[in-house]
């Protein structure tokens, strides 16, 4: 399909001149009109053929399907029963489905449109679109062009949320290939503490494509835990950007788990924009069939004395492929930066593949940075050791793979949720002990 022509009509009909976000949307629409969708000749999109995901018959009507509130309970993950639940359907924020359990003294959730016209408008002006500086491509601009259907979340200054914020993305693919563009802007105000979980579900058997942008500002001395869980099944495609800007002494901890999907692209940006910030990034991709998971991470050390640590692990079976690209920038002024990065991959089959690319650009001269990546198969010596104790080959493999994944799983603090994901992984590995 010709994406520029296809979306132009929708843009003209749907994006209202009266919107507070009109100028932001227009600016991005102009960018998209110029850039179009990223092609594989674009280095950042070398392995992910985005254009192929935009097929004829794609449904993008910016209408949420009506979903029975009772049906939502199917989407609740173990350990999050009492959480703040935020629902997006077909990429559109649904205030009437959303349920907030924490007090409004602690937590505010509203439409992005509303936030851009009230006391939060200064924040919106300052931070909306921050990711474009790092992901300046047509796919980011396309999302931004339609951002008025998005949501704004604010964790108030000093608030310690008792419950996580779970953001549910539901795509209704009953009628055909569904396209969604959720947009979220979040302010984690200073000294506050929050956990944000993103999860994705599809109704219907047709394919879906979710092009998401979530931008978060973690302000001074605030603490954010972020978990993204992808297990939508074959036919679900995803291009998502999580852009986190953190100010002085802020601490961010992110875990990205990809268990299924067709083509999955995750951008995770950490902008260390204040001294003594700390950032932990973990990822696990356990792939089979034809799944492709492409994780691009950026740590931008703009200020001195920040710490970041990154560990991504992949297990590829079948004809799946895992891609990791980890950029670390250390700006000239960012002295005393500590930045570490590790990516480990295990290939379980002839046809699976892994591509890994660490990319460090260091302009300061007093820093500690390291990176390492491995691609290999299961350790034969370890496998033999287990088998020599009477553990079957299949269980020995499962045991080793499970152990390989364990250091990422352990990063999920909510015990029931961790046990649930652990169960999914054990089932996949057919671990029967």
């Amino acid at each position: 399909m010709d994406a520029k022509i296809f979306f132009k009509e929708i843009y003209q009909h749907q994006v209202k001149d009266a919107s507070n976000l009109k100028s932001f949307q227009q600016k991005n629409w102009d960018a998209f009109s110029e850039l179009g969708l990223p092609a594989i000749k674009h280095e950042e999109w070398k392995y992910t053929k985005v254009k192929n995901l935009f097929k004829d018959g794609l449904i993008y009507d910016q209408q949420a399907s009506s979903i029975n509130k009772d049906a939502l309970s199917n989407f609740i993950l173990p350990g999050t029963e009492k959480a703040n639940h935020v629902f997006f359907v077909n990429g559109i924020y649904q205030p009437e489905l959303t349920e907030i359990s924490d007090s409004t003294d602690l937590l505010v959730i509203k439409t992005l449109e509303a936030a851009s016209g009230d006391e939060d408008s200064a924040f919106v002006d300052a931070y909306l679109g921050g990711s474009y500086g790092y992901n300046s491509d047509g796919i980011n601009a396309l999302n931004a062009s339609f951002s008025s259907v998005g949501a704004f979340i604010k964790v108030r200054k000093g608030a310690v949320l008792t419950q996580p914020i779970v953001i549910h993305h539901i795509s209704d693919a009953q009628a055909g290939l569904r396209f969604n563009q959720p947009r979220i802007l979040i302010s984690i105000e200073s000294l506050s503490q929050a956990t944000i979980i993103e999860t994705y579900n599809r109704i219907g058997t047709n394919e879906s494509l979710t092009n998401e942008v979530i931008e978060i500002c973690v302000e001074k001395e605030a603490n954010l835990r972020y978990i993204k869980i992808q297990n939508e099944g074959a036919g679900a495609n995803h291009t998502g950007t999580t852009h986190i800007r953190q100010l002085a002494k802020a601490v961010t901890h992110a875990v990205t788990i990809t268990l299924s999907g067709s083509v999955v692209r995750n951008n995770l940006n950490m902008v260390m924009d204040g001294e003594f910030g700390e950032s932990h990034m973990f990822g696990l991709y356990l792939l089979d069939g034809n799944t492709q998971a492409d994780n691009h991470t950026i740590v931008d050390n703009a200020m001195p004395n920040c710490f970041s640590n990154e560990l991504y692990k992949g297990i590829m079976d079948g004809s799946s492929s895992g891609i990791f690209n980890g950029k670390i920038f250390v700006r000239k002024d960012a002295q005393k930066t500590n930045a570490y990065q590790t990516n480990k991959n295990i290939l379980m089959s002839e046809n699976s593949s892994a591509n890994t690319k660490p990319q460090l650009e260091i302009f300061a001269d007093d820093v500690k940075c390291s990176h390492g990546c491995t691609i290999g198969k299961l350790d034969d010596d370890a496998l033999f050791y287990l088998r020599a104790r009477g553990i079957s080959e299949q269980n020995a493999k499962a045991l080793l793979l499970h152990a390989f994944a364990a250091d990422i799983l352990q990063q999920i603090e909510i015990e029931e949720l961790r046990a649930y994901i652990d169960g999914l992984i054990s089932d996949r590995l057919t671990l029967s002990i």
């Binding site: 350790d379 034969d380 010596d381 370890a382 033999f384 050791y385 287990l386 088998r387 020599a388 104790r389 009477g390 553990i391 079957s392 080959e393 269980n395 020995a396 045991l399 080793l400 499970h402 152990a403 390989f404 364990a406 250091d407 002990i433």
Partner: protein
């Protein structure tokens, strides 16, 4: 129990075992000694089923079954145990969970009910005493960050848990100080009975001060060139391996 006849094996293109014959009966302790590179560890690995080695001739029967026809895991379940010369470090797998899986897979194979948590813990406590191993070590990842002595004690602990019919100790004494050696030997001595057997592969006579073998065999250049009783071990210790080499070379000259 174990009958090895004319066993030949190679790794890649290199012939290492050139016709081994050995017969081990229940209740016996056999020691295999020999200089470096004589094929001692290869013999242990081939018996345990390591895939790197290709058996090119001969036969091995274990408890009446064709051992070479069994997978490594089935050999273990039939009652063969190899204490590794270099136990592998496996991050993320706790020793306790691992040994529980191993014990219960073996029990399943033998048609027994799996041990429940209480029974398992009870057995584990007993066996831990045997090798003077601490609970905290067993909660850690398998062999990860263990000292050499701890790794070897862990091997003997696993042996005690699995209660094998035939245990092969592949240079279990290497790198051990005298205290660790005594603990390991003590474990073996307490586990030995009239129904099980041990094959102790070692370079030095030292371990045999603590575990007294019924038979000593000298492996040289892929063959057992001399067999005897424990006195042979003393002779080797005294004279070194050179006299064996000289004897063999004379005989083949």
């Amino acid at each position: 129990m174990l009958k090895i006849e004319n066993l030949q094996a190679r790794i890649e293109e290199k012939e290492i075992l050139k016709g081994i014959n050995l017969d081990i009966k229940p209740g016996e302790i056999h020691a295999i000694m020999g200089p470096n590179g004589s094929g001692k560890s290869t013999l242990a690995s081939v018996l345990a089923g390591r895939a790197d080695y290709e058996v090119t001739g001969g036969s091995v029967s274990f408890m009446g079954k064709d051992l070479l026809d069994l997978s490594p895991e089935d050999r273990a379940k039939e009652g063969l145990f190899l204490a590794f010369q270099y136990p592998v470090e496996i991050p993320g797998v706790s020793t306790t969970n691992f040994i529980k899986s191993a014990v219960n897979e073996k029990r399943k194979y033998l048609g027994l009910e799996p041990l429940d948590a209480v029974q398992f813990l009870k057995t584990m406590k007993e066996k831990m005493k045997l090798v003077e191993i601490d609970q905290s070590l067993l909660s850690r990842s398998l062999n990860e960050g263990f000292s050499g002595g701890e790794k070897k004690r862990n091997e003997i602990f696993q042996m005690a848990m699995l209660d094998p019919k035939l245990a092969i100790l592949d240079e279990t004494d290497s790198g051990l100080d005298i205290d660790a050696l005594r603990i390991v030997a003590n474990g073996v001595n307490q586990l030995r009975n009239k129904d099980n057997a041990f094959l102790i592969v070692t370079h030095y006579q030292r371990l045999l001060d603590y575990i007294v073998p019924d038979f000593v065999h000298v492996l040289y250049n892929g063959r057992i060139v001399k067999s005897g009783t424990k006195e042979l071990a003393f002779e080797l210790e005294e004279k070194g391996y050179d006299f064996i080499k000289a004897e063999v070379n004379e005989a083949t000259a």
